[in-house]
Each structure stands twice: as C-alpha cells, then as structure tokens.
C-alpha cells in the first residue's frame, strides 16, 4: 500500500480532529476523550508508515511533497514537507507521546475539557509541522503556531502561578523567534530574494552560488542560535523551564519536555550546523562549555530541589547539555548520540512527568518531603518509576545508555577533557535520581496520606507499558534506529567538516569576496 502526502496527513490530521471536536456535542466527556485518544492513536499508527518505508541508505529528504503556497512579486513561499533520518523519529516521538499524554489526563482535566483536547491536537499539528517543514517561512509558522496552544495549556489548565509561567514562557520564546525571523528574511534576501526554500539555500551554499560573509554568517548563526538555545534550553537561558513545568498540567509537561525541547536541538541540527558551518565551528568551544556547565550545574541544582517537577525540569537542563556537547563535537558518534539522546530524553523525561502526574493526582502534592515509603502501597507505580529512573540515568540495556555513550564517545574523540567532564553527569544523575527515588518510595510510611494512596490502575499501566517497551527495545536493539540516522547525519557532518580549514582546529574558512546581493536599496 502506498500513501501519498503522508507528511501532510500526519501534520494536518490532528488539526482536522481538533476541528471535528469543535462541532462535537459538549455534553459527553467520555466521548470527547475517546475521540481524541483514538484519533491521535490513529495518527501514531499512520506515522509508522514513514518509519517502515524509510530508506536508511539515503541521507536526503524523503516523502517529500511540495506545492506553492504564497506567490507574490517574484518570490514564493512553498508548502514543502519532507523528513530525513534526523526528523523521522522525532515525528514518531511526537505522535507516540500525544495519545499517551491525552490518556494520562483522563481524569485530571475536569474543566474546559474540549478546549484542552483541541489545544493538545493543535499542538501536535504544530510539532509535526516543525519537524517536517522544509520552507523557512513554513517552519517559522509552525514554530509560532505551536506556541499558542502551549500558552493556553499552561495558562488555563496550569497550577497556581500559571499566568506568570505562561507569560514567561511565551515572552522568552518570542524573543528568540523574532531574531530568527529577522535572520530568515536576511537569508532570503541574500539568497536572491526569490525563495524561502531550505533545500534551495542548502544547494546554493554548497554550489557556492550563495556565499555569506564572515560577519553575516556569524550574526545569522547567532540569531538562529538564540532562538534554539532558549528552546533547548542551553544554560543560562533555562530559567523559564522550571516555572513552565511546575505550572503546566501533566500533559503539557510531557509534551514540553518530550517534544518541545527537542525542537531547539533539532533546529540546531537542521539550520545552524548545515547553513552556517563555519560559524558553528567557531562557536563550538563556547557552546560545548555552556553544554558542560548545563550538565553539571543542572544536575547539582536538580539534586537539591524540593519539588519533584522542578527536579525533573533541572534534570532536563543536564540531559540537554549533553546533547549540545555531543552535537558540537561534530563527530558522527557525537551527532548520532545527540539525536538518539533527543528521543531518549523525550521518552524518559516524558515518562517521568507522567509518573509525577500520577502521583500528584493521588496525593495532590509534589513536594518530595511529603512522601516516603510509597513502594509499600503502590508497588506497581514504584516499579515503573524505577525503570524510568534507570532509563534516565543511562543504565545499559535501556534506551538512555545508547545515546549517552555515543554522545560521550563522540565528544571524547574531539576533546578528552570535555568528555571527562560530561561523564560526571553519569554520577550526578545517579545521585539526584536515586536520592529522590529513595525519599519518595523507600523507607517507612510515616504520613497516613501516603498509606491511603492507591496503586496505579489499568489505564495508567496502559500509558506506561508502551513507553517501557520502547525503552527496552531502543536499549537492547538500537541498531535499527541508529541505521536510519546514519546517512543524514553524515551529510550534516560533511557540511561542517568542509567548512573547516584543512589544517584542522577551530578556524573559520577563508572567505571569497562577499557576494551578498545588495538589496537594501541604497
């Protein structure tokens, strides 16, 4: 069976489901929930099609579809979609987590249910769109579209300080994306002012038809970088994250940690590295150091958090730091480890937020000090939590290890000191996760409220079992995942490598005469 326009289906089907929900009679909450869960499950099943039919040997874009979208005055914005080995699994991760997040919110969202479901489905459209878009404007549109439902998710269904967190989230992200918009327009003009097509920009850069001056490349890189760095978040742009996570509802946190953060690192791989390789090479030492700071600092701050969600949020800072370090080593292992780690972090941190949400639904608190001995009365929850904890700290045999070890060895091949510092994250991760686990689940039950807390039931298990299966699969038999990433990452690596001076080291290439078309009308 062949499905044409599969990426359009994946992108817009959730939005269509959301639109259908609008016309749903509001009375039956169960029907609404079933519709959303089953619909998004259908989207997930559909997303297996590209995974299955993906050609691992080809590094370029696959399942490409292109049609004119806006054409005016000599320039065109196209509706251009496609995925490669980098985005393939990120799309699958998005469609995988969305139904699980919806299912996990079954009872916890009582008010404005319909609006919540619509926001979640629109969010899915935005996220899948970001990973598939191959036109700069289209990318930017999806990037912004996704902000709005997230803003509402935090602002309406969030916790006590939800407005503060939502505003902080959106302002922070907007600052970055505005800079990116400016850079997109500059790039468009520099590239001849006719097309926003990303692949065309790639091609012109490669053939030498588009040559960016040293300074232009630097500033463009910086503009994109800041947008993505806030999203990742790279230290010191991370302080929106703990607030957003603490206030967001469970589903919001899952999507935020599981997918939204990946957009930052995805953007770096898709735009910053291939478009501005010389600037990326020049910036690599600084970004690596920021990544290292993130690893150690995020872990140490996570260790002393009294709130479970904040702990997980800071652990994300630590994990994302490793992705940055691995990526900016520019070795195949580093890039692939970083990509793998995006998926792993999506699974493990998404699962952690799901679990914390399940605890919160039962105990109405997230303060670690309020717990203790939960393993007595909730052994199944404790067992799931343990597996996810182990995945998060990179135990071999589970998914986290594969990404971690590749990112680390990739870094090691570039810079041994960086790798040694990054590897301390392995120790610190064990410290804060196991200490947290001990305080929450082990020991005697001292608070009667903890004794009264029930174990998780079948619906929660249905949420967690698929995640655990994926963790085992990706940890034990990683090669099929890695194989599909190989060719695309080799292309990225080649682009970066070509930008390097032949004698090696972090040097910016000698530039030809600046060939930017003077289009500012002077």
């Amino acid at each position: 069976m062949q499905i044409t326009h599969i990426l359009s289906w994946l992108t817009y089907l959730p939005a269509a489901l959301a639109a259908a929900l609008v016309f749903f009679p509001g009375g039956s909450a169960r029907a609404l929930k079933w519709f959303a869960v089953l619909g998004s499950t259908g989207v997930f099943l559909l997303s297996l099609y590209p995974v299955y039919h993906f050609d691992p040997g080809y590094g370029g874009m696959q399942f490409v579809e292109e049609s004119a979208w806006i054409q005016a005055g000599g320039y065109s914005i196209s509706h251009h979609l496609g995925i490669d080995g980098i985005s393939l699994f990120l799309v699958a991760l998005t469609t995988f987590l969305t139904p699980l997040a919806l299912l996990a919110s079954w009872n916890s969202i009582a008010q404005r249910l319909k609006g919540f479901l619509i926001c979640m489905l629109l969010l899915e459209t935005g996220m899948v769109g970001v990973f598939c878009a191959l036109d700069l404007v289209l990318f930017y549109v999806f990037w912004e579209v996704m902000l709005i439902p997230m803003y509402f998710l935090i602002g309406i269904w969030g916790g006590e300080h939800r407005i503060y967190a939502a505003v902080k989230f959106i302002l922070y992200t907007m600052v970055g994306s505005l800079l990116m918009l400016v850079a997109i327009i500059y790039l468009f003009l520099a590239n001849g002012g006719t097309t926003f097509d990303l692949l065309a920009v790639y091609q012109n850069l490669e053939s030498g038809r588009l040559v960016l001056s040293h300074r232009a490349e630097f500033w463009l890189f910086m503009a994109f970088l800041i947008a993505f760095a806030i999203k990742v978040p790279i230290f010191p742009f991370h302080t929106w994250l703990p607030d957003a996570h603490v206030e967001a509802p469970t589903a919001g946190s899952v999507i935020l940690a599981g997918v939204l953060l990946k957009m930052g690192t995805y953007g770096l791989l898709r735009f910053c590295l291939p478009l501005f390789p010389a600037a990326a090479v020049a910036a690599a030492p600084y970004l690596s150091v920021l990544g290292l700071v993130g690893i150690v600092y995020g872990a140490l701050v996570a260790m002393v958090q009294p709130d479970l969600k904040k702990l997980v949020a800071y652990s994300s800072v630590s994990h994302m730091g490793l992705i940055i370090v691995g990526m900016f080593a520019f070795t195949l292992q580093g890039l692939e480890g970083a990509t793998m780690q995006m998926l792993n972090h999506g699974l493990s941190t998404g699962a952690l937020f799901l679990l914390v949400g399940m605890i919160y639904d039962r105990r109405h608190t997230r303060m670690i000090a309020n717990f203790g001995g939960l393993a007595h009365n909730s052994p199944v929850l404790a067992a799931f939590f343990l597996v996810v904890t182990l995945s998060s700290i990179g135990l071999p045999g589970l998914n986290g290890f594969v990404g971690e070890v590749l990112a680390l060895v990739g870094t090691f091949l570039r810079n041994r000191t960086y790798a040694a510092i990054a590897a301390t994250g392995m120790i610190l991760g064990a410290v804060y996760m196991l200490w947290m686990y001990q305080r929450v689940f082990l020991g005697k039950v001292t608070d009667p409220a903890n004794a009264a807390m029930g174990d998780i039931r079948s619906r929660d298990r249905a949420v967690l079992i698929p995640i655990v299966i994926m963790m085992l699969w990706m940890g034990v038999y990683s090669a099929p995942f890695l194989r599909r990433m190989d060719a695309s990452l080799e292309l990225v690596q080649k682009r970066v490598h070509d930008a390097r001076a032949p004698e090696g080291g972090y040097q910016v290439r000698q530039l030809k005469t600046p060939a930017i078309r003077k289009s500012d009308g002077r």
Partner: protein, 646 residues
C-alpha cells in the same frame, strides 16, 4: 558446538522476568521452583559448555558467538555476543555453581518474607548480569554486565525497603560504583580511540601483534592510561582504596546477597576484568605497579579494620575487601591465573562464611553483634563445623583451598621481585587468621552472652540451609586441588595450564627458575603466619578472655581508630558530600539560578514595566497635554531644519 551458549545467561533472565511479573500472584513455591530452577539449569548448561570446551584442543578453546548488532555508529560497533574461553568458563562455573547453592540456601533463609518473589527475581537478574559481564566479547557488553550487577546490588542491598539505612547503603553502593564506572567507560573510549574497535579479540590482537605501534615513549603511556582508567572501574566494583567504603555498608542486604554478590561474584568482577585485559596490563609496568600497590594496601588496611569490628557481617565484609586486595596483588605481579585461582577458592570459602554467619543470625533471631553471641557450637553444630573449615581455608591452612591460592600469590610476589609486597601480604595473612578465628571463637566458643529469650528459640538451621553449607565446605576443602603447585611433585599447575590459552596475548616477563625446595619453605612460612594468628586469637578469646579488653583499653587510640574504620566515611562526608549539597542548594540554586540568572530575566521584565510606566504619561488623554507635546515637537523640528540649513 555450543549453540546453547545463550541459554546460560538467558535462563536466569527468564526466571527473573517470570518471578518479577507473576511471582506475587503465583505463590512462593512457584517462585522457588522458577528461581532455583533457572539457576540450577544455568549451572547445568554452564557445566556442559565447559565440558565441551575441555574436550576441544587447547588452541580451539575459544568460542565467540554473535547474535545481533546492538549498537553501530561508524566504527563504533558493539555486537550482542557471548564469549566462552577458559577464563570465562571458570567464571561461569563459579557464578552459576555458587549462585545455585546460594539460591537454594535462600529458600530457607528468606522463608516467609513478604518480598520473597522480589528477592528471587533480583537474584536471578543478578545472575544474568554477572554472566553477561563474564561472557562479554567486547568492552561495551562487559559494561552492560558491569552496570547491571551494580543495579542488582543496589536493589538487593536496599531490599528491606523499610530500613532507611538499607536505602542509604544501596544508594551509596550505586553512586560509588558509578564513580568507578565513569573511569571504566572513559577507558573504553580510549581503547576505541586508540584501536578503532571495541572487541577484545581485535584489540588484544593489535596489541600483541604490533608492538611497533606502541613505541616505548608514547605507546606504553597510552596503554598505561587505558589500564589505569579501566582500573578505576575495578577499584569501584571490587571495593579497593579509595572506593571500598560502599562494601561494608552493603551488608544491609539479606545475608545470601552478601554471600553471592558482595563476596563470591560481583566484587570479583574487577579482578576478572584486569585478568581479561591482561594483554594491556602486562605491557605497562606503571599500571601493574598501581594495581599491586592498591591491592596490597587495601589488603592490609581492610584486615586491620577487620580486627576490631563486632558486627559479624562487617568483619566478613572487611575480610572480603582484604582478600580482593590479594587478588589484585596477583594480577599486579602478572600472576593472572593465581588471581583467578584465589577468586575461585575465595568464592567457596567466603560464600560459606557468609552463609554460616547467616545461619547464626537466623538462629539468633536477627542478632549480628559478636559480643552478644558465644557458645553457639552446642546449638548449631553443622554451622559451627562448616564455619571452622571456612576459617581454616581462608587462613591458608594446608591442604584447604585457600592455602594453595594464597600461597601461589605470595610466592609470585616474591618471585616477581616484590619482597615488601610479599612481607605485607604475609603479615596480612596472619591478621586474616587472627580476625577469622576471633570471629569463630566469639560466636561459637566461650560463655553465652545472650538472654534466655534468645536461647529459647536457638536452633540449627533447616536442611535447605545446612546442605548448601556442607556443599560449600567440601568445595572449600578440596577446591584447591585443581591447582596443585609444582613443588608437590604432582606435575604442573593444572589450573594455570587450563587458563593459559586465554592469557596467550599477555606479555610474559622473564622468570628465573626458583627451586621447588625454596617454594616449599615459602609455603611453610605462610602456614606458620596463619598458625600464629590462630593461636593468638585462641589465647585472647578462649584462653584468656580478659586479654582482648585489656589490650583495647591499653591502646585506646589505635583501637578507636580501627574501630571507627580510620574515619574514612566521616572524612568523605565532611569533605565531599556535605559541601556539594550545601553549595548546590545555597550557591548554585538559590544564589545563581534564582538570584542572578532568573533575577536578570525578571529584571528585564521589570525594567520594561518601569519604562512603560514612564511612557504611559504621554498617552494621558488630556487635550492640552497633547497640544503641548505637538508644540514641543514642532519647535524641535523647526530647530532641526534651521540647523540643517545653517
């Protein structure tokens, strides 16, 4: 041949999964059958595999079976594969054999425990991880087992989830091991960066066949770096200085766990790893020196702490640390097969000691304090006799198992030109005999130092516990005969011969023949040192019971220092653990993160508000105010135009 190799590790894994998922529902007899059955079948499979191996010609005794590609990224390729050669053959026999016996023992020991299914699930999982570790064909697979056993150790130390001390100990074990693991994985990275492969066979072949690639100046430095980084992992896993602190605390776990994981198998993984990497270690004098020094220091230090401890399991824990030190000494003086030999005999007698201690604890209703025991031989005769055999074996009394292995290590140290190491090792052997018989005498001899309530239910353990004791006692007695030394005139050391093919790539230093009579004298001296220790213990704890207390009072300072374990835990807490937590909380989180970074962000927001607050006065809705702004603007414009003109 050996198509069934995968069964050996996978059987316990299946048992673990079955018990973990369904054991609670299906009841304890199901758990027993699955738990012990999978361990027993794994032992049978291992025995069959080793038999097959022995039947093959010595040069063909290496089987490597790859099942699928686990990780592949560029040259960084790790297959899921299992290796069987004499070295891993010995290990799988020890792991599954001793493991099975301890599983059977656990039926009685853990009887009636609420987490019975959980216990057996974890124990089986441990067997799986340990078998992966020793059957790994590449460094990354080894790391899977390496961390896997660490996980099981964590789970089983913290098995009694009610106890905070158990949770603390489990976490400590995992974290301290992780410190070692970071060293190990960096060592693996350096291996990969140097040789472009993770496979043992390929790496060792390159080292052995191309000495030119490793010229004296740079090459040995590289090998030394690899060896030392890997050794950091061994220090963590095998509880050597300075990372040994987790092992005594690990005694919080149920006693069968201490016997299997923290005495017989897991803690020896570091020794196994060093021997497996003999081609690397044997080519680096510096690394060998470090291994030897760390080993002998640990052996001595832990033995001295063991002299004063009163918790029966802690005495044994420090003894384990000390004996592991011996094994590293063996590796450090390139007597690799002697190290594995001692690893094996130690597994027998130390497992026996722990199980015996468990039998005592079981009989006394959970009491672990030696000062509240005494006279137990009347109540637990089988335990008493088997414990005596184990104590004699670890002391190195001829002809028990410990004698042969320990003597081979000490003699190798001397023959390798390390007389100081030999002397310290000999003194440690004396200490070992002393603290072992101190334990035996305190527990089983002398007056009964417990109340009637305890005496009332004192009993010998059930057969499921005593039969394993007897089996291990037999092994501790005859286990040494597989490696009779040449001086006995019964031919060459068969154990060393069997291992030889696995160590073929190791660098052999020139050895000068030492006559058999000299070797015999050395053996005599070793036994003498042990006898002195035993008689001293007898004098102090049986003949003259007041002597021990008197000595402790006389030498208050040194005694306290030993009793408080040189204050190492306290020093680590004060210098490392507490400062890190305080700095993280007060400086990093509250100071930098909330204060500076987020303060800046919110500061930008707040300043926007201030600017907005000022600007809002412009838009105040008063016509006269707007008129005055228009006037001001017009005036400024006129002024500007006038200046441009002029």
């Amino acid at each position: 041949m050996l198509d069934y190799l995968w069964l050996i590790p996978l059987l316990p894994l299946a048992g673990s999964a079955l018990n973990g998922l369904a054991g609670k529902r299906l009841g304890s007899s199901f758990v027993t059958w699955v738990g012990c059955g999978s361990a027993g079948l794994a032992f049978l499979a291992a025995a069959a595999a080793v038999l097959d191996l022995v039947r093959a010609a010595p040069q063909n005794r290496e089987v490597l079976i790859s099942y699928f590609t686990w990780i592949a990224c560029g040259d960084f390729v790790a297959e899921a594969q299992f290796l069987l050669d004499p070295l891993s053959g010995v290990m799988i026999l020890v792991v599954t054999g001793v493991g099975f016996v301890i599983h059977v023992y656990s039926i009685g020991y853990m009887h009636g425990d609420g987490g019975y299914y959980r216990f057996f699930s974890y124990m089986n999982l441990f067997l799986f991880a340990m078998l992966v570790l020793v059957m790994a064909g590449n460094f990354l697979m080894m790391f899977v087992g390496w961390e896997g056993v660490g996980l099981c150790s964590y789970l089983l130390i913290g098995y009694y989830i009610d106890r905070k001390s158990a949770g603390d100990a489990g976490k400590k074990a995992f974290v301290v091991n992780r410190i070692g693991d970071v060293g190990f994985i960096l060592g693996v990275f350096l291996v990969f960066a140097t040789f472009g492969s993770l496979d043992f066979a390929e790496v060792f072949r390159q080292i052995a066949s191309a000495p030119v690639r490793f010229p004296a100046e740079t090459g040995v430095g590289l090998l030394t770096a690899i060896a030392l980084l890997l050794f950091v992992g061994a220090i963590g896993k095998s509880a050597q200085i300075p990372l040994y602190v987790w092992l005594p605390d690990a005694m919080e776990g149920p006693t069968p766990v201490s016997a299997l994981i923290h005495a017989a198998t897991m803690v020896t993984a570091g020794v196994y790893m060093v021997v497996r990497c003999a081609p690397i270690y044997s080519r680096s004098e510096a690394a060998l020196g470090v291994v030897t020094v760390v080993g002998i220091l640990t052996a001595w230090l832990a033995a001295t702490i063991g002299l004063t401890q009163t918790d029966i399991k802690r005495v044994l824990a420090y003894s384990t640390v000390s004996q592991l030190g011996y094994m590293f000494v063996a590796a450090g003086v390139t007597a690799f097969s002697a190290g594995i030999f001692h690893l094996m005999t130690h597994a027998f007698f130390k497992a026996l000691l722990f199980l015996g201690a468990g039998s005592v604890i079981h009989a006394m209703g959970g009491e672990q304090d030696l000062t509240r025991m005494g006279g137990l031989r009347r109540y637990a005769p089988i335990t008493y006799r088997t414990m005596c055999i184990a104590a004699l074996a670890i002391s190195g009394i001829f002809p028990l198992a410990g004698f042969f292995s320990k003597d081979e290590i000490l003699f190798s140290a001397w023959a390798g030109g390390h007389p100081v190491v030999w002397a310290v090792g000999l003194a440690t052997a004396g200490l070992t005999a002393f603290y072992m018989f101190r334990l035996t005498f305190l527990a089983f001899h002398g007056p009964e130092r417990f109340g009637d309530d305890v005496r009332h239910h004192l009993h010998e353990s059930p057969p499921s516990m005593t039969i394993p004791l007897v089996i291990l006692a037999i092994l501790a007695t005859v286990g040494g005969f597989v490696g009779l030394p040449p001086w006995m005139g019964l031919g060459p050391n068969r154990f060393a011969e069997f291992l030889a093919p696995a160590l073929a790539h190791a660098h052999r230093p020139e050895t000068h023949e030492i006559s058999h009579s000299v070797e015999f004298v050395f053996a005599l001296v070793s036994v003498l040192a042990a006898l002195i220790g035993i008689f001293l213990a007898r004098y102090m704890y049986v003949g003259n019971p007041a002597a021990a207390g008197l000595l402790a009072a006389r030498a208050r300072g040194p005694y306290t220092l030993l009793y408080r374990k040189y204050y190492v835990d306290e020093i680590y807490d004060r210098l490392l653990v507490n400062p890190i937590v305080v700095v993280s909380r007060e400086m990093l989180w509250k100071g930098i993160d909330v204060g500076i970074v987020d303060g800046t962000v919110n500061g930008v927001g707040a300043s926007m508000r201030v600017w907005g607050g000022l600007l809002k006065y412009v838009q105040n809705g008063l016509v006269r105010s707007y008129a005055s702004w228009i006037l001001t603007g017009a005036a400024l414009l006129l002024y500007y135009v006038a200046r441009m003109r002029g």
